[in-house]
Symmetry: C3
Subunit: 356 residues, 3 copies
């Protein structure tokens, strides 16, 4: 499966870069700056790793124009306008996905009426439920499960233990990391003071809707997308979701957003296009987070955020305001002392004034 | 499986509502206000959706007495004292659970001595361990696993990938969402400065107890309930737990509590009856959270909370105190400037006083 | 499997304790102080449970020298220099792990070229991928999955639903709780403004590295360890990780650290040896958390932490500073009033001064 060696000229052409140095040299792999050798191409972007760049023994380094001067003279430069994109392309060339053979493993369980494209690959101990559909070239790794009437598009990859519950829909090129869950019941209960025979109860509200995961979405390991109470929970085209994220019922996330690990989004909240929610942030329900909005790590968002704005903190506020505040708060203990002293001084002045 | 059309009179009778308008009209489904049409019943409670109510084309709307005036004249009203409860009942009527056939799928693995009620349904690729017991009408969806000597009551639903580890106990009507875990080992290690051959180590404390999930509990997707070190971890009757929640060893949660997504409860903490822990809150170990207590989202609780109290913030404090504080903190940067200025003014006054 | 009764003398010898009282009495089990009876040994360390100690009817109690005086006269004392360690050993004696029989269950799926030691135990519905290796005495509980070319050492325990993805490596005596994930793809995307045919996109950066879990590590239920972009993500020897923890790509954790539930560690961050990260803490990427450093619960760490330091809060700061600050913040509402009043008083004084 592995790619043979490529000339730097050929590689540059395929990743959208320009060669500075000997374009006829050959590389076989991408490696980190510190490990790369005479047949490897490395990558530089974060100034934290300037020292590693200066010391690298890589054959070539993918980097931006303005960083080229920092690389060792011996290394060829692959200058790119989007170095990280060019690196992603180079890595994809040298690290092609392993594709299991097409077909249905005899140890898989396929329900009646399921339609599985002959180019799809269904691994051992997978489940394809009654009436479910699996599109062309889609891979179910061992133990992935697509339940009754669910639909999975083309060229999807469902890793081991991923679950797509009944009637949910995945577009094309969707990736589910291991043990991700699509279509779990939303957390919907009506407190019934009368209850049934045993007194008050939390009565389950049927979660009769579905979850729809659009094209090119990736969901991380153990990430949960609840099905809607009615209608659809939607994760929009090209949005990427990290591990252990909670996406509640009837949430709608726009296209090309990023949701980092352990974020929680409460029910019926809408996240716009191109938004970024940093790690462990929490968003309460029924809000609107704008297109291109950003939410800082661990922030707690209780109000709408306008398009393009960055919010941080708990409760979340405009990021600059939060920065100012969070720099000032550690000064409060000293401030308390200062004010106590000021009070004494003012009291003294007042006494002097009174005496006169 | 689907319910045929019902007259509003009949529906109202079954959901505990009163018809205002033509009770002979027929409905076939529950739908959101904005999607509902001439054969649908919709639901209104949150004033955020007043506009959707006013514009709805639903045949009928379930709502409270005081909201009835806001609905369009053309819509019949199903006035209920507990509208959300009535909606839950209506949705359950029109969206009955799909029940797989009773019996054990040949692709399931059943251990020796397991006792499975003949009315239970064990799906493909499920595991029922040695000596485990499965009660009447309980459903194990494909890939659910009940391990050795575990006991599952009647009318439970274990979704795909849910795991009940050895010897743990589920009551009746318990629901486990996909990939939920009952009975994982608690996080118990004794730091042993002497260790074995290789120097100091964290020595594992055997987690010899179990987890017990009482009747009518629901656990969300990827939620983890650890088994006790000794004795039992307990989730009490009718308590509902959302996705990705951590319930540590020897925690005891009372009846009818609500635990929202991504909450973490540390070891040996007791949560009372009817408590509500909002999303991403964290509770340290060995505490007592009172009956009916409420904990705000993302709060960090380091001390006991009395019955009926609401706490918020980090570290958590009475909610009102926290509200006052969190409104005042953004004023600290300005306060610092003010105090600096005050200091100068006082200094000046002091100089004037001295000169006199 | 259960251990027969042991004399206290024999037990003390095996757990490194000294008997005070009748060493010939026999015990059969470890039980909590409040449940223990005439044939049980109990354990005391946390002063919160002093009352339970005083009232216990246990045959014997494992405790520290200075606590011995608080136990009832009737109870023998097993005085230990490391009481919790001695308790762990006692519990391990009376609660030996159930070991399934060696061998491969016929309902497991084993890929071509997989090497499974004959003393290993592979349960029903387990997957051992193509070319994977399973060491001596290792147990795969039902539904555990070790994918292609992955390597698992000796005496490991993989609980139900645990996944070890392609090429990842587990050392010896590693424990994976249910539904833990090793080797999910890291969250790596390069925003490509040009994109393919459909405009801008987040282009997936292949996650071509692996995750390596060293000897004696335990990973909690639904905990996720991402594989590296290039190279390795490493969890070091003897480190223990609780449930629902996120360990991102290229993170390196040193030996003997503790990572409590729901912690998130972002990409390329290094955690030292013997560090402790308390529950729900979040660490941003590319940091260095020192050897023996401690991070408080729910803290948000955005900067390096030196060896041995304790940090808390959001943003995290030295723990003492944070304590001082968090005690002072609830006083801010009152401080605002005070300063307003001071201002008025100073104004008055200024007017007096002006008039003179």
């Amino acid at each position: 499966m592995a790619q043979g060696p490529l000339t730097l000229d050929e590689l540059a052409r395929r990743i959208g870069a320009e060669v500075r140095g000997d374009g006829s040299r050959r590389v076989r792999a991408v490696r980190p700056l510190e490990d790369a050798g005479a047949e490897d191409v490395a990558f530089y972007a974060n100034p934290r790793y300037r020292k590693e760049l200066q010391a690298t023994r890589a054959c070539a380094v993918i980097l931006a124009e303005d960083a080229a001067g920092h690389a060792p003279a011996a290394a060829s430069k692959l200058v790119a306008s989007q170095p990280y994109v060019s690196f992603a392309k180079a890595s994809a060339i040298f690290n092609p996905e392993d594709r299991p053979l097409a077909g249905i493993h005899p140890g898989a369980s396929v329900g009646t009426g399921a339609e599985i494209d002959p180019t799809a690959s269904i691994g051992p101990l997978c489940v394809v439920g009654r009436g479910a559909r699996i599109g062309p070239r889609t891979i179910l790794h061992p133990g992935a499960r697509v339940l009754d009437e669910a639909r999975v598009g083309s060229s999807c990859i469902l890793h081991s233990g991923a679950v797509v519950r009944e009637r949910c829909v995945l577009g094309d090129r969707v990736i589910l990391q291991p043990n991700a869950v699509v279509g779990s019941d939303g957390f919907g209960f009506a407190f019934d003071i009368e209850g049934d025979d045993d007194g008050p109860m939390h009565r389950k509200v049927p979660q009769a809707g579905i979850a729809r995961i659009e094209d090119d979405v990736e969901l991380g390991a153990c990430t949960c997308v609840d099905r809607a109470t009615l209608g659809e929970t939607v994760v929009g085209r090209g949005t990427k979701v990290d591990n252990l994220v909670q996406i509640a019922h009837n949430v709608r996330i726009g296209a090309l957003s990023l949701v980092v690990a352990q974020v929680g989004i409460s029910g019926s909240t809408e996240i716009g296009k191109g938004a970024i929610l940093a790690g462990q942030a929490g968003i309460v329900g029924h809000l609107r987070i704008g297109d291109g909005a950003r939410v800082g790590a661990q922030s707690g968002v209780a109000h709408d955020i306008p398009d393009g704005e960055t919010y941080s903190g708990y409760p979340a506020m405009p990021h600059r305001e939060w920065l100012r505040m969070s720099v000032s708060l550690p000064k409060v203990p000293e401030l308390l002392r200062q004010v106590r002293k000021l009070e004494e001084r003012v009291k003294e002045l007042e006494e002097i004034a009174r005496r006169k």
